[in-house]
Symmetry: C3
Subunit: 265 residues, 3 copies
């Protein structure tokens, strides 16, 4: 029985939408595997930012069907000696550079096999020094979607370059948190899960953001008060700071990777 | 005979393109209904703006095949007690929050059945308080595309929350118009159709915009004069203000929802 | 034997992502040809810019499968007497306005047949004066994807409006170059290929950009020095100016269509 999900190729890149790079990936995939179903997971990873790409992948992968091939192109080291890899996990396949961007999600899902992509017969005929998404990763994902065994793509490797999210850092009686992402509405996603948050806080809390102490917690945007920053559990499972129907990041002057202190007032 | 269009799911959201939200919807749909064909109608509805979402839907739906399922996620009240609904009209299906965003288009097409989405077996296993697009609307649209009867999704409802576009307002000898949309080229779309415009105007007209009186009318951009704002019939059927090969909204300093006065000079 | 690639319709437009125009094209195509596979090559051609559209098409087409139908909507003259055409080349089909945007790519691939689109039975029933992408080009591309012979779409034409990229211009001992494109990372793409560059330069070079003389050449981003503008071969085959992991166009204050002087120091 074939795995129907195996025809799905999900793209995660930092190409943005202003250029032809995504279109070219799709042309390449369609040339090799006309029946593949290509899904844009996101092309708005911050340029060359492995942490941001890793975050996008890890909060999304679980919503894709078993057998999905994630083709990940966040590749600041393209043309250097960083390896190109194919990773098989319990439920998925990942194709991309071995620079850490695949690590968190692959490890969470359970790594079963790692292949170093060394077989040029599954690349485009000419491999450039600057666009391996087009020349290596998309062609490999496309050939994989045709049902090829993963051993064909190169030599087995024993390890993947690790890269873990920065976690909350304990400092005296506080936790120093990092902003992982500003979402499309301006909500501020923090690097602390609901469980970690609940463990740390015994009573009230204060999230210090640019001299503002945020203390309210609400379960939904609708329940919150107007114009008042509050804390909630984001749909990704991480805690977030939001302002009802407004852009919290703009209001609070917060940017991605800023640090925010969680304390007991 | 199956309805071939029924496999089409058209997405209308305010998610933008900067985040993983759209990709997650597609992952969810693909997990439930691998054969569904997902079309991005637009993800650039102004955040939480029911009027804007309603406008996008109403000028576009007619171009989609019979049986298309419109999955609409413009949902400022997510997590409140606003209902989630499935609406069957003469030609289409609509899935989304019952906050008015579906009303105009569904009513124009002819509402046949309304179902209150109360059957959690067609939702994701865990339903968050903040992302019903992922947890309820996309899964319901996907199950519907598999051919499920709409009665299975919940209880029949008798009415849909109405929400009508603001129309032109008569004031003495003038009409006060509202800007419904600034299009991608900067053309200014007004809330008056060609028929209404023709009915009101007996001879010359003046559209007063920030102390400028716009009087020329042209049928095409190509026919217009350079650098001169003019009025034409937009491709949506509404009247628009344009400047040939330029961004009229920027030149005239006009924003969405601004009011503009139509008078006879 | 049918040509499997013939079902592919690749869209190239200047519609951007902020509007419903792209979604409407897809609705129209899906209504006529439900089995067609639509690929977004790019919707971010600079508004009404034939040179930019021509550039995007020419650097991308070769990555698409044989038989792909390119539906190109960069159409400042919509509603004027410019012709609407269908062009068959050695490997592809092109549908769009005959304003030059198709010329470069069609000519490079080898023009075999040109049809003037005069058969309204393959248009939408009502053809507007302002949106031929929706009313003419998408419907024709969709009917073509169903396998219709191209002669059915109108009268044979003998020529296509030519439009060639501006090439490097010799001036004394220098070459005056033009910026064809700023890519998504801020790399500056010049109108000179690697071959042309190598022919002109006998030894060292200086690319003069706003009083900076750029002299280093590197083969990859990874090999370059931090914070130092350098020259490399872009993945499109044209030469580019880049700054490692930074936005070269912003750093150097360069915009599309700027002129840059290549000389020997």
């Amino acid at each position: 029985m074939t795995d129907p999900g195996k025809k799905n190729i999900a793209l995660v890149t930092d190409f943005g939408h202003k250029d032809v790079f995504v279109g070219i990936l799709k042309g390449v995939i369609s040339s090799i595997s006309p029946g593949a179903s290509v899904i844009d997971l996101s092309h708005e990873v911050a340029p060359q930012d492995i942490l941001h790409g890793s975050f996008f992948l890890s909060v999304s992968a679980v919503y894709f069907p078993r057998g999905t091939i994630f083709c990940v192109v966040v590749d600041p080291g393209v043309g250097s000696d960083r390896r190109a890899v194919l990773v098989k996990t319990k439920d998925y396949y990942f194709v991309g550079p071995d620079n850490g961007v695949l690590w968190q999600t692959a490890a969470e899902n359970g790594i079963e096999q790692i292949i170093h992509l060394t077989q040029p017969r599954y690349f485009l005929e000419t491999v450039s020094a600057t666009f391996h998404g087009r020349d290596i990763f998309a062609p490999v994902a496309a050939h994989l979607s045709l049902g090829l065994e993963i051993e064909k793509f190169g030599d087995p490797a024993t390890s993947l370059t690790p890269f873990e999210f920065p976690g909350p850092v304990k400092q005296d009686n506080c936790l120093i948190l990092t902003v992982l992402h500003i979402d499309t509405y301006g909500n501020i996603i923090l690097n602390i899960t609901q469980d970690e948050f609940d463990c740390f806080m015994v009573s009230d809390f204060c999230l210090s953001v640019n001299h503002t102490c945020i203390t309210p917690f609400f379960e939904t945007y609708a329940a919150a008060e107007e114009n008042t920053p509050f804390v909630m559990v984001s749909s990704s499972g991480y805690m977030e700071i939001a302002v009802k129907n407004k852009n919290a990041a703009q209001i609070l002057g917060v940017e991605r990777l800023d640090q925010i202190t969680l304390s007991q007032p």
